[in-house]
């Protein structure tokens, strides 16, 4: 039996899940049973991180124009769907190797099928 905490709602029921049959006890609603079984069968997570932006040397923080002329150093990214929990660090390794050149639009796929997870790494912000 594995003990986990249900995160479906703020109540936080303590579930007991059978590792072979995936039967769940301790839940106070049906959603808890589904969560408990999935969490043991195939736990998945969305990974969010940042990617290094290639900056041109003339784009440092400026001296006065509105907006300050900031050259962003990092682009926020995410996997566009939950990926297997055990693959999180592999995804991070691929993200670490990536360099992006603006312009980028929110939703742009930066790495398709990242770390062989079926999820794509996408930008979560647009950079002009």
């Amino acid at each position: 039996m594995k003990e986990i905490i249900c995160i479906t709602c703020p109540k936080g029921c303590h579930l007991k899940v059978d590792e072979e049959t995936f039967a769940v006890t301790g839940n106070s609603c049906p959603r808890g049973a589904v969560y408990g079984a999935n969490e043991l069968r195939n736990p998945v997570r969305v990974v969010t991180s940042t990617v290094v932006v290639k900056t041109s040397p003339d784009k440092g923080r400026g001296t006065g124009e509105a907006g300050g002329g900031v050259a962003p150093r990092r682009l926020p990214v995410k996997t566009d769907r939950p990926i297997p929990k055990g693959k999180m660090f592999e995804v991070m390794d691929e993200i670490a190797r990536l360099r992006v050149q603006p312009p980028v639009k929110v939703g742009d796929i930066l790495i398709p099928n990242v770390a062989g997870t079926d999820g794509n790494l996408v930008a979560t912000k647009s950079l002009p």
């Binding site: 940042t50 900056t55 440092g60 923080r61 001296t63 006065g64 124009e65 300050g68 990092r74 670490a96």
Partner: protein
Amino acid sequence: MNYDVIIIGCGVTGAACARALARYQLRVGILEASNDVANGTTKANSAIVHAGYDPLPGTKMARLNVAGTAMFPALCKTLDVPYRNIGSLVLSLSEEDDETLKILYDRGRANGVPGLVLLDRAQALALEPNLSPELRGALYAPSAGIVNPWELCLAMAESAVRNGVELHLSTPVTGLARGAEGWSVSTPRGDFTARYVVNCAGTLADQIAALAGDHSFTIRPTKGEYFLLDKSEGTRVEHVIFQCPSRLGKGVLVTPTVHGNLLAGPNAAPSGPEDTANSAEGLAYVRAAALRSVPGINFRENIRNFAGVRANSDHEDFILEESAVAPGLIHAAGIRSPGLSAAPAIGEELLALLRQAGLETPEKPDFRDGRRRIRFHELSEAEKNEMIAKDPRWGRVICRCETVTEGEIVAALHSPIPPVSVNGVKRRVGAGMGRCQGGFCGPRVQEIIARELGLDPTQVPMDWEGSWVLCGETKGGAKA
């Protein structure tokens, strides 16, 4: 490098000495162990200019305190250092205290403290309505004041540097040897020679003396802890509020600061020479004691605790003399409270001691004192726009709590003694001193320092060397 005089230590005492010597045609060098001036006792104390009724009549402490305090108004005006002559009250909260007040009054008169008045309860409450209900009376000293101690030190050091004194930061002294030509001073950054050495090394002054074979005194570092409260508490009192000194020390004071905050502290406990840690017991003591003077203080408005180490010694008085065993080595040691108040006078005293020891001091005809620092929030609307028109960075507020602009930070980074750390910038322009304690502006200050000094942000420490902030870029950075 050869100097006529080497000053060891650039706290307020060393800086005062340097400025005094800068008026003459002398080769003067300052060796400071830290990466900034004012980085020891000078940056962490009560920031009070004492009137001078505490020290016993006839002592150097009494003479130099009263003389130093009298120099503050003109000095701070010349050097553009925040100073307010707000006066002080010593409270009597018991019959025993009544007696103490009379002793302090007489002592103050003997020391030449101007304007002392013994107030009854009603008179004291008229000056300070928020005082304790236990109040019985107070000793009022109109000449007392508050100052920004690290800016005073910096301003005196800048004045010295502009007039040719050479400041060597991150240069701790590791050896002192007397040769035929004078002193040889060893440091990790090379050796220096000088005819005279002035020991202004604060809590480490006995270690410097020992390097020269002088064991005539021992520093007994004594830590004091403080609360610094938000400006919302800054008008709780309008004078420096002392309790009566007792066997335990001068007692906890409550005072506004020149920045508009409220300061409460210190306690007194033996410590290491560089031990600035706060303790739960020390803070609890300060809090309780401060509330005894001013019961309404809202400690929930605390924005920072800190501790400073006083350079107390085994001597009763300041040690200001030429070493008996090492000729040409002048000590300014054991500079305990009222060391800050006395500092301007100590500078002159050290000059006199050097002359006595044989130093000739031809006048420097082109000596220029004076200093001006532009504080954006103090400018008029027209002046603000003038600054921004010249350099738009004066229109970019970096520290929102204290309204400090990028222009001020950049100016500080190109000043005669440029800061190399986040707190170095804080001490010069106030960025990060406010209620968010650098939570918002810290990252931007880090970046501006790096940019202006041509460093990588990871090379910019919080304060002294080794107090690093960032350990590297994520993902190996753009170059990886």
